[in-house]
């Protein structure tokens, strides 16, 4: 496979590769999340017995990682590529290695390693076992077999792959500073670098995240999202308007995602003490569990025969 020449070509090749492996190519979730795992296509679909195969790009936000666009590899907004297949196929490692070949990593010249890294998300009440994948000593992906999500044992088990796209692309393209990375084809009439696209926004968000965000408002929004999530889940399962049984796991989960992101913003503003931190994480986890319970009560969350 020839070497890709831009950030977007790497994304396109991953999309193409996983589409050829039979995954549904989804679009990013339209909410602020900290990682691709938060997309309901992963968190909720890892639950229950129904088979699933999806791949998508997810823009992700980590307010504390903002560096005003100066740091060569730290960003408060970045992209993850996420693959989730349930049940995990027996050749998932080989499929994954195939994707590296697709983006131009020559396995005959490079040293690919699977190094123990157990994944745990305290906010999602989820954990799994797997590895971080190293290419020549550089971590390029996370590879996880989900064991539990939202406090529920996963059965069947999903295999999850997460690629940190900027870091992976910088490696493949041989770029040392993320802002210097070609975003589109460098030979295009209007060639854009990653910096052309994102430097301005990184600067602005870094200032807002660290110093300007209204913490009083954020605290209120956190409470609001938490209350709304609870309220949604307390509704009777039968919808009085249509007379149909409609469990609202997804709208409730949106509020859970919202609470989680607001917590991250508050954390970046430095207004959460270490002790409070644990308490906030526990509150988000309680929401995630409640949403997982609700999803398992939906048609999509149940076996084909039960739905």
């Amino acid at each position: 496979m020839s070497a890709p020449r831009s950030f977007q070509e790497i994304i396109l090749r991953l999309q193409d590769y996983w589409a050829r492996q039979g995954c549904a190519i989804l679009q990013p979730y339209d909410m602020e999340v900290g990682a691709g795992t938060f997309h309901p296509a992963t968190t909720l679909r890892a639950l229950g017995p129904r088979p699933w195969a999806a791949a998508y790009v997810q823009p992700s936000r980590r307010p504390t990682d903002g560096r005003y666009g100066d740091n060569p590899n730290r960003l408060q907004h970045y992209y993850q590529y996420q693959v989730l297949i349930k049940p995990s196929p027996p050749d998932l490692q080989e499929l994954y290695l195939g994707s590296l070949g697709a983006i131009g990593i020559d396995m005959a010249l490079h040293d690919i390693r699977f190094v123990e890294d157990d994944w745990e998300s305290p906010t999602l009440g989820a954990w799994g076992l797997g590895w971080e994948v190293w290419c020549d000593g550089m971590e390029i992906s996370q590879f996880t077999y989900f064991q539990q999500v939202g406090g529920h044992d996963c059965h069947p088990v999903s295999g999850e792959l997460t690629y940190g796209l900027e870091r992976l692309a910088m490696y493949v393209l041989g770029v040392d500073h993320v802002m210097d990375m070609p975003f589109n084809d460098p030979a295009a009439p209007i060639a854009l670098s990653y910096g052309d696209v994102f430097r301005q926004a990184e600067r602005e968000y870094s200032r807002w995240n660290f110093h300007v965000a209204d913490t009083g408002m954020l605290l209120r929004h956190f409470e609001d999202a938490e209350a709304e999530c609870r309220r949604i889940l307390e509704q009777p399962q039968t919808d009085p308007a249509t007379g149909r049984r409609i469990v609202m796991a997804h709208p409730a989960y949106d509020q859970c995602i919202k609470a989680s992101h607001i917590f991250n913003l508050l954390d970046a503003r430095g207004v959460i003490s270490p002790t409070e931190r644990q308490a906030y994480i526990a509150r988000v986890r309680a929401l995630a569990r409640a949403c997982a319970d609700a999803f398992l009560a939906t048609e999509a969350g149940q076996g084909a025969g039960e739905g």
């Binding site: 005959a108 699977f114 590895w131 000593g137 550089m138």
Partner: protein, 682 residues
């Protein structure tokens, strides 16, 4: 003789779990085969990142026939009892044997259990071992229910006899055992058919898999040394890293590189830690300067370009990591130069140490107060110890220690020097965490000793005061280690210190914990726990140096002939007094009167006791325990003579009472040295 070969091929096994897993496989299979009576020769287990393997030599082809006899009911027993016996043994009535008994005849069932073929037994035992394997953390995958450390992909299990190999019939969770393995994931991924252990190892080696972890480690070590020598450097010894890296590769290839000059001014500990923790690199040191100037990375494959691309990739990651490290180092130095180390420590006021024990800042103030009290007792200038206590934890607020927690203390020393603090203070920053383990020496410099003791004692008294003591199952705050640290600092440095006043409110309970830890610690040096118990009742038991001196003198004394006999005499005296006291319902604890002494042996004991008591008291006051023991030894002959020649229970009640009181006095005089009732044995 046939040989058994097992290989469990899986996705990558965490390096830290590999050595234990190989041991467990060997042990569990051996135990399982033994339980079935299948004999065998030597057993060897191997492990690589993708496989657990076992070779059993000299496997018996079958387990031996066994005959088992069970005694049943008497022949005249009720029918129901006999029927029950037949059911339990599965033997037909006419096959029962009748044997005479003392009072009649009894049924016997003779069970002949024919031996079974090895393959059948191996299949059963292996299935049990796989299903119950004690991985520290196991998982499920796909739709299966089997648990393994990572997905299990193949089972190879065969019994090889001469040229012939027989696959052991076994299927677990859809995986059928066979005679196939795979080579290196990238260099030789095709299936390989094997016929026996020797063939297996050779074919794997040809397929770029070194089966034996020791062989991989040896190759890594030799290669690293050679690569270092070629650059005029020496590798920094790191056994733990060597074991780990040997568990990350099946085909180790040594690649060496140079640290870019921009990073050479970083402290060597930072370079080492960054390379080791993030990248599993070995550090190469310039032996004349002590600087880290090179690195070795171990790749898992050979490449057409001789590893050039792999090395370049690793070097780029290293440069990014070290750029981060240099950024932290420079930021920290700027903070220290602008605000001083105490200024850096101020940030710790906002960091919770424990929800119920306040902030790190609160803890530092408590440590300072303790260090001030301890300093004069360990020969440290009080002000210097207090200053050291105020800054010893400052580096916990540094960016470098945030990134590399294991550099705590070491960075503090660099930053204290950069802040221009006295060398004793800088040393205390690093040394106050010591001893770091059984192999590590405790600090010896007085200021370091004061802060180290204060730090550990504050941990212990703090957690004790909120009821967070270690339990049998857990010690999340490493309080046992803290107590052992205090014990070792005091004993190895010979520091005389009364602990109880420093322990405050929790002194009683915490001191008991210390005495328990002391027993565990001294057990390794051959000191008996009962001898320690015997000395705990004496005054000054919170001064561990004094306590141990007393214990050692007593144990030495008890191992002499005088000591052993005197102990016997003490026991005789104590048991007679106790028995008579019980019988008479009184205490014979008055002062005996020499005027009532009738026998020469009795008078001699009186005389020796008075003299010994004086000498013992003087020796104890001078803390000369050897002299106290010698003074006690003088009692042995008179006591022996007393028991030989004097009848304690004399007819004259006055004489009898006086003799019992005399024996009581023997007990109380000896009791000034130790509580002999605690000494175990006869």
């Amino acid at each position: 003789m046939p040989e058994l070969l097992i290989e469990l091929l899986s996705e990558e096994i965490p390096a830290r779990m590999q050595p234990r897993a190989a041991d467990d496989l060997g042990r569990l299979m051996t135990e399982g085969l033994a339980a079935e009576g299948l004999t065998h020769g030597p057993v060897r287990a191997f492990v690589t990142p993708r496989r657990l393997a076992l070779v059993v030599e000299g496997l018996a082809p079958r387990s031996p026939d066994r005959v088992e006899e069970r005694r049943g009911p008497r022949t005249d027993a009720p029918e129901a009892a006999i029927a029950g016996f037949l059911r339990a043994t599965g033997v037909a009535r006419e096959a029962l044997e009748v044997r005479p008994d003392r009072r009649g005849e009894v049924f016997y069932a003779v069970l002949r259990r024919p031996g079974r073929p090895a393959a059948e037994i191996v299949a059963e035992v292996l299935e049990r071992v796989i299903r119950g394997f004690p991985w520290p953390k196991a998982m499920r995958w796909g739709e299966g229910s089997l648990r393994w450390v990572r997905p299990l992909r193949r089972i190879l299990c065969l019994i090889a006899d001469g040229g012939a190999a027989q696959v052991v019939p076994l299927t677990i969770d859809g995986i059928a055992a066979g005679d196939l393995t795979e080579g290196h994931r990238f260099m030789a991924p095709e299936p390989i058919r094997v016929t026996g252990p020797a063939d297996y190892r050779e074919r794997l080696a040809a397929a770029h898999v070194l089966l034996d972890p020791a062989e991989r480690a040896a190759r890594i070590e030799a290669g690293t040394r050679a690569a270092a020598a070629a650059r005029g450097l020496v590798p920094v010894e790191d056994r733990a890293l060597l074991t780990e890296v040997a568990g990350l590769v099946e085909w180790p290839v040594v690649l060496a590189g140079t640290i870019p000059p921009d990073f050479l001014e970083l402290p060597p500990e930072v370079l080492r830690t960054s390379m080791r923790e993030h990248q599993k690199f070995f550090s190469l040191m310039n032996p004349s300067t002590g600087r880290i100037e090179g690195f070795v990375t171990i790749a898992n494959r050979e490449t057409a370009d001789g590893g050039a691309a792999i090395l370049a990739g690793n070097a780029r990651v290293l440069a990014a990591r070290l750029t981060d490290a240099r950024f932290f180092w420079e930021n920290d130095l700027r903070t220290v130069r602008e605000k001083g180390l105490e200024g850096m420590a101020r940030a710790l006021d906002g960091v919770t140490f424990h929800a119920r024990l306040g902030s790190q800042g609160d803890r530092i103030r408590r440590i300072e107060a303790l260090a001030r009290r301890i300093a004069p007792q360990v020969g440290a200038p009080t002000d210097l110890a207090a200053e050291a206590a105020r800054v010893a934890k400052a580096d916990l607020a540094s960016q470098m220690v945030y990134e590399f927690p294991e550099l705590q203390g070491i960075m503090g020393r660099y930053y204290a020097r950069a802040a221009g603090l006295p060398e004793a203070v800088a040393e205390a920053c690093a040394e106050h965490y010591r001893p770091l383990g059984a192999e590590d020496a405790p600090p010896t410099a007085p200021v370091s000793v004061a802060v180290a003791l204060a730090d550990k004692i504050d941990m212990l008294t703090g957690f004790w005061s909120i009821g967070e003591k270690p339990t049998g199952s857990g010690d999340p705050f490493a309080l046992r280690r803290a107590a052992l640290g205090v014990i070792r600092i005091l004993l190895e440095g010979g520091h005389r210190l009364a602990l109880a006043p420093l322990f405050g409110q929790v002194a009683r309970d915490l001191l008991a914990f210390f005495h328990d830890r002391l027993k565990v610690h001294l057990r390794g040096q051959g000191i008996r726990h009962d001898v320690i118990d015997a000395c705990l009742a004496s005054p000054g038991n919170d001064d561990l140096v004094l306590l141990v001196a007393r214990v050692r003198a007593l144990q030495d004394f008890l191992s002499t002939e005088d000591g052993a006999n005197l102990l016997a005499g003490w026991r005789r005296a104590a048991s007679i007094v106790a028995a008579e006291e019980r019988k008479d319902g009184v205490e014979y604890s008055f002062d005996p009167d020499p005027a009532f002494a009738e026998e020469p042996a009795e008078r001699a004991l009186f005389a020796t006791l008075s003299e010994a008591q004086g000498r013992i008291d003087a020796a104890l006051a001078a803390e000369d325990f050897a002299a106290a023991m010698a003074a006690m030894a003088a009692l042995r002959a008179p006591i022996d003579a007393f028991f030989d020649q004097v009848l304690v229970n004399a007819e004259n009640p006055v004489v009898r009472r006086n003799r019992l009181c005399l024996l009581h006095r023997v007990r109380s005089v000896m009791g000034r040295v130790a509580d002999f009732a605690r000494i175990e044995g006869s």
